[in-house]
């Protein structure tokens, strides 16, 4: 199939992009999800505006406690260590296992979050890491940012410009595991864990809806099975089993 007709322009101005989005344009960064959607005519916007030339969205910086990645940073920039990491090579390791290198060369971290595919690596891992989505007007905890599968809380014309991710270290450890039919495919089971001292934050992704976040008493190796059964009662036995194995293996992968 070929895409339905649309106009295309690139902008270097965040304001211009925002204005276009308010008027119904679809923003495109790496296009690794939107491209296929256009081709399959699942998305039929009249106008598409490319934002990867906006300088403000391509920067990366760090503070003592956080890493801030521009929304248009590509997966391969993260994979190759060209931007700051949160520790233990956690971000490069996540990035290195996203799809294929050709996808990583163009696909962006911000694009992945805005697409909000429940099976995407960044959606689950950054939820676990307590990352925040930054727009020109506000900072949004990712748990509020995602409002459903393929849905975010961004207002019309509001653009995700950067992601702020707390660093590991001290008593903070991160673990991640995903199961795919083969390298590069979308995962069918996925778990990420942020352990702070004795407290765990477990996120289980690659399910029908937005990834599930477990904290406190629910987020223990001994209680997570019951918690998952309670929170996702419709899950079939095999999927539940796979997700719990993913959690187990994410615990085994914990690193500071």
């Amino acid at each position: 199939m070929k895409a339905a007709v649309f106009t295309w322009e690139a902008t270097e101005s965040l304001q211009a992009a925002s204005r276009a989005a308010r008027q119904g344009s679809r923003l495109i960064a790496g296009g690794q999800s939107l491209g296929p959607m256009l081709n399959l005519r699942i998305a039929q916007p009249e106008s598409v505006v490319s934002i990867t030339q906006i300088a403000d969205m391509r920067g990366a910086s760090e503070t003592a406690s956080h890493v801030i990645l521009g929304a248009c940073i590509t997966h391969s920039q993260i994979e190759d260590g060209l931007v700051p990491d949160i520790g233990s090579k956690s971000l490069p390791r996540i990035a290195a296992n996203i799809a294929y290198r050709a996808v990583r060369n163009r696909g962006t971290i911000g694009g992945s979050l805005c697409h909000a595919d429940p099976a995407a690596d960044w959606v689950t891992t950054l939820l676990a890491l307590n990352a925040e989505a930054l727009t020109s007007s506000r900072a949004i905890a990712l748990q509020e940012f995602f409002t459903g599968a393929f849905r975010t809380c961004l207002a019309p014309g509001e653009i995700l410009t950067a992601i702020r991710i707390p660093k590991l270290g001290g008593d903070k450890k991160f673990g991640y595991y995903k199961a795919c039919r083969k390298p590069g495919e979308f995962a069918h089971a996925m778990a990420a864990i942020l352990q702070t001292g004795a407290k765990n934050r477990i996120v289980i992704g690659a399910m029908g809806g937005i990834p599930l976040v477990f904290e406190g008493i629910e987020a223990e190796p001994a209680t997570i099975a019951t918690a998952l059964a309670t929170r996702a009662p419709a899950l079939d036995a095999v999927t539940r089993h796979m997700q719990l194995i993913a959690v187990k293996r994410a615990f085994e992968n914990l690193a500071a």
Binding site: K2, V5, R41, A179, R181, K182, V238, M242, I245
Partner: protein, 782 residues
């Protein structure tokens, strides 16, 4: 490469690992495919395809303002439907419309075609076409389709069975006193053959020649010409089929397409070229499938592991239409005739059904029914091993046809031409160091289990007239032809009616010609894939080209050498009886004259030849059939070691060894390439590929994100060992070997997975073996 092989490559003949001639353009991205053909005034086609599986068509409404750009069945004046009839008794014929009218029988069936300057604009128009459909209950399960009361795909039949076949060879007597009786129910998934290049066609009406020219991505140009001529009501000389580079076929391009007929009609009707390029969505959801089998098997054996008799009921889901030329029944007919595999048995009974459902029709995919049949038979061998406590390799050895029995006529009258099957098995088992793997298996702890799987099979290739006449399908191969012609400067042009789409035939056929005449490989050009310039052939399928076209090229070259000899003799002024033609020269004792000089003389200096001699010229078309046309039987043993993660259900291939025998190998490197590619596809059958349909016969995958194909990371480094037992019936002793790689892996891998799971009391009896299938079985067991 050893010295002998290095010399052979330098010389170039049969047996040399010559680098593929065609790779120079392919590896540089300079192939010329249908999609590369651009013609002035060419317009693009997009088909409107049915969103439902079974419906009566009330109306198809063309969008206002686009009436001239949309064509429906009623607009295709004089165009006939496609019928592929089998002559087997009881066969029920289907009529496959070029564009559906009255009724729709599967999702993706074309109901209208739209034309525009670009594909995107044609799709815009297609999206505006309205279908007024009365949806009917659909049937997507082949066993349910066979049951009384099922919705009917073709009402006039009264049931959903294209064909039922029964064979019984001494079954009751042989099974009567068996000590061990084993029953298994096995299933294989429906697959979508997925060559890198999909199908495509560019149709042009040539006013000067009054001829339709179809550039189409096909494996069989001459067969397509016949089919197109019949559907469009044209004489065959008014149809020319030209296949440019074809990016993989595997059976998917061994078909006459409604899209080709449509494009041909429109090019003639509209007076300008039109093009249709299949996209991945059409390939996955609208066009032909393959491989879906259901087996009820009962093996009767002795305590010592001897297989006494086999009883089988096999159903094949043949989809909605019998496809041209192979028909809906080839697959099931093949199951009945080759299920016994390379084994001896005294009794055999088999009933098959080719069931019609509301799914696309089926085509014979690489290996045809053999991938399923080998899986079934090898599954039973392991079951006998488990029941008797005898090692799997020993059970097989006991039942294989032994070398001293060759040639051997098996229980279904297949004539195994030559080989040492037990030796191939022994070598494959030795290659994986079975005792060491068993030791690892015994000491493995934790969630990851180790398993070993074996498979051995033989592959009938290049079977000819006597075999196909029995099936009575629209295409029966007879003599294979080749044209060879010297060029005035001493080069050789070889014209063959088969089509090379990955097999490396531009290299191997040049090696054959080089073997006979000695003309350097670089000066031999293979011309193929065009009905206007090649002799008739049924095309490339059934592992037939190296035997059939190879034999034809050798025969034609030999006849050409008989035309070369007297000219060379005259130039040397010696009697023709004293000369031999070989290695690029005509030689008489110490004297010789180059074939190039012979060519130069005949074409450019005829005054140097005696008046009235050599009028026949230096261009020959010769026909060839093997000594026997019952086929060559290559064979192979596959041995595989896997690990199974019993927590996540994942299977990893740890080691994969093959010992194969393709008779005399024309180019061992190309044979190895064929094996590697075939195994990749076999791994897909074993572990990844399934086109599932829901109860409304809706396909559940429409992109390669949902239809999982194996990729580079899923294909292990294979260890390949060759045996070379010549066939007594072919020109050089060569055997067809193109499909074998795809046949063994489902059986070997499934056996390995079950070997790993056996201690847990779990057996997987369906393909593909996905993590979900494994975990469902394990969780059921808990």
């Amino acid at each position: 490469m050893d010295l002998a092989q290095a010399e052979l490559v330098e010389k170039g003949g049969v047996g040399a690992r010559v680098i593929r001639k065609e790779d120079d353009r392919f590896l540089r991205g300079r192939g010329e495919y249908v999609g590369d053909i651009k013609l002035p005034a060419m317009q693009e086609l997009a088909f409107v395809r049915s969103p439902v599986a079974h419906a009566r068509i009330r109306a198809i409404i063309k969008p206002e303002g686009f009436e001239g750009r949309v064509f429906i069945a009623a607009d295709l004046a004089g165009v006939k439907p496609i019928t592929a009839i089998s002559g087997l008794p009881g066969f029920k014929a289907s009529s496959q419309p070029i564009l559906a009218f009255e009724k729709i029988r599967h999702v993706g069936e074309a109901v209208a075609v739209c034309i525009a300057a670009t594909r995107a604009e044609a799709e815009d128009i297609a999206a505006l076409v309205e279908l007024d459909l009365e949806e009917l209950p659909a049937i997507s399960n082949m066993l349910a389709a066979r049951a009384p009361g099922s919705p009917l795909v073709h009402e006039a039949w009264g049931d959903n069975v294209f064909l039922e076949t029964r064979v019984n060879q001494n079954f009751e007597a042989a099974a009567a006193n068996a000590a061990i009786v084993i029953h298994k129910h096995l299933r294989t998934a429906r697959q979508c053959m997925s060559p890198l290049e999909g199908r495509g066609v560019v149709a042009v009406w040539d006013r000067r020649l009054d001829q339709l020219l179809l550039h189409t991505s096909t494996q069989m140009p001459h067969i397509i010409r016949t089919g197109i001529a019949e559907c469009l009501g044209l004489p065959e000389d008014s149809v020319r089929i030209s296949a440019p580079d074809v990016g993989g076929g595997f059976g998917y391009k061994g078909i006459l397409l409604p899209e080709e007929v449509c494009a041909g009609f429109l090019a003639r009707h509209l007076g300008h070229p039109v093009r249709w390029i299949e996209d991945r969505r059409e390939q996955l959801t609208g066009n032909a499938n393959c491989r879906e089998h259901d087996y009820e098997l009962t093996a009767y054996a002795d305590h010592d592991g001897t297989l006494l008799a086999l009883d089988a009921q096999a159903t094949v889901d043949a989809g909605a239409y019998s496809l041209y030329p192979f028909s809906a029944c080839l697959e099931a007919a093949q199951i009945a005739s080759i299920l016994p595999g390379p084994y001896r048995m005294n009794g055999y009974r088999c009933t098959t059904w080719s069931a019609a459902t509301n799914k696309p029709g089926i085509l014979p995919y690489r290996g045809v029914a053999r991938a399923g049949v080998c899986y079934a038979m090898e599954f039973l061998m392991d079951a006998i091993a488990a029941a008797t406590g005898i090692r799997p390799e020993e059970v097989r050895r006991k039942n294989l046809v032994p070398p001293e029995a060759m040639p051997f006529d098996n229980i279904t009258a297949k004539h195994f031409d030559s080989g040492d099957y037990p030796e191939a098995l022994r070598r494959a088992v030795a290659a994986i160091d079975l005792p060491a793997v068993r030791a690892r298996q015994a000491t493995a702890t934790g969630a990851v289990k180790i398993g070993v799987g074996l498979a051995i099979f033989c592959e009938q290739g290049a079977h000819g007239t006597s075999v196909y006449a029995g099936w009575g399908i629209p295409m029966v191969p007879g003599f294979e032809q080749a044209t060879v012609r010297l060029t005035p400067d001493g080069g050789l042009e070889v014209r063959v009616g088969i089509q090379s789409h990955g097999q490396g035939l531009e290299t191997t056929l040049a090696q054959v010609a080089n073997e006979i005449l000695g003309i350097p490989i670089a000066r031999i050009k293979i011309v193929h894939g065009d009905t206007a310039i090649t002799p008739y052939s049924t095309g490339t399928w059934g592992s037939r080209c190296m035997v059939m076209a190879g034999g034809a090229v050798a025969t034609a070259c030999r006849e050409l050498s008989r035309r070369i000899a007297p000219i060379g003799a005259h130039l040397m002024q010696v009697p023709v009886a004293e000369v031999i033609v070989a290695d690029g020269f005509v030689t008489a004792g110490p004297r010789r004259v180059a074939i190039a000089e012979v060519a130069r003389t005949w074409f450019r200096r005829p005054q140097d030849l005696p008046e009235g001699s050599s009028g026949g010229g230096l261009e020959i078309t010769a026909g060839y059939k093997p000594v026997r046309d019952s086929g060559t039987f290559s064979y192979a043993a596959h041995a595989v070691v896997v690990s199974v993660d019993t927590e996540m259900g994942e299977v990893k291939i740890l080691d994969y060894a093959i010992c194969e025998d393709g008779g005399t190998l024309v180019n061992p490197m190309i044979v190895e390439g064929q094996l590697i590619g075939g195994v990749a596809q076999g791994i897909g059958t074993a572990l990844y590929e399934a086109m599932a349909f829901d109860e409304n016969a809706q396909p559940l995958a429409s992109t390669l994100a949902d239809y999982t194909l194996p990729g580079a990371t899923e294909v292990p480094v294979l260890r390949i060992e060759h045996m070379e037992t010549p066939s007594p019936y072919s020109f050089f002793g060569q055997k067809g070997i193109g499909e074998g790689g795809a046949i063994g892996p489902p059986a070997a891998i499934a056996n390995a997975v079950n070997d790993a799971l056996r201690p847990l009391g779990v057996e997987i009896s369906e393909l593909p073996i996905t993590p979900r299938v494994i975990l469902e079985a394990l969780l059921r067991q808990k």
